[in-house]
Symmetry: C2
Subunit: 141 residues, 2 copies
Amino acid sequence: MFELDPRLQADAWALGDFPLCRLLLSKDANYPWLILVPRRAATTEIFELTEAEQAQLAVETAQLAEGVKTALKADKMNVAALGNVVAQLHVHVIARYTADPAWPAPVWGKAPAVEYRPEQLDALKDTLRPVLPATFTWVEN
Amino acid sequence: MFELDPRLQADAWALGDFPLCRLLLSKDANYPWLILVPRRAATTEIFELTEAEQAQLAVETAQLAEGVKTALKADKMNVAALGNVVAQLHVHVIARYTADPAWPAPVWGKAPAVEYRPEQLDALKDTLRPVLPATFTWVEN
């Protein structure tokens, strides 16, 4: 049975579900930082998913990255499955800008997390709404 | 027409070709650090590939990550498409160990690159040979 890792639960908000993945938003306003978590128990590597799930993860990752890049006019998308700290399989999809606090380095360990202002968070969700595919379901909140 | 980015060409050796991707090995002996480069011109984001190419990239990435993890008894695989410095689309597939110089941080910017000794490089290639799929062709050298 799938349960979200407690650290992901603490560090990110759940926005909703793709057919395979839960979509999280990191509580760090430095970067628009989305995280896809396949709703599968006891999985740490992409290749541990079935082939169909791997294909679906690739589709959801690409749909998300393309939508976010377009909606947020990002300079580059960073897509990464690391999992050295949180073992539960999760894929970072991060919108990067040449003016962001870590550019051109990867974001991990670079800048202290910045809190979202409530209206900034609402604005981000509103911007993402039209670019997420019809297969995505927002959580009620 | 596909041409390998000059920086990738300088920092890595070409090992051979999957059906879609050129396989490179980073010249940094700190980590077994493979890089997949789709042989497509003018591509910087995964979602710019055709859907068939995206699926093929996912297959090649998973085959490589699983083979490397098994052959090298890695603790975790890190898979990432960043491209903030080298724009040409490339996917890092890095074998990580809890005792490596960057653990648990991502590898970028952590430890100065270490040169491979020739026999160490040959041993690594010999270890990888049996785990790469039949669709992979080694370069002559």
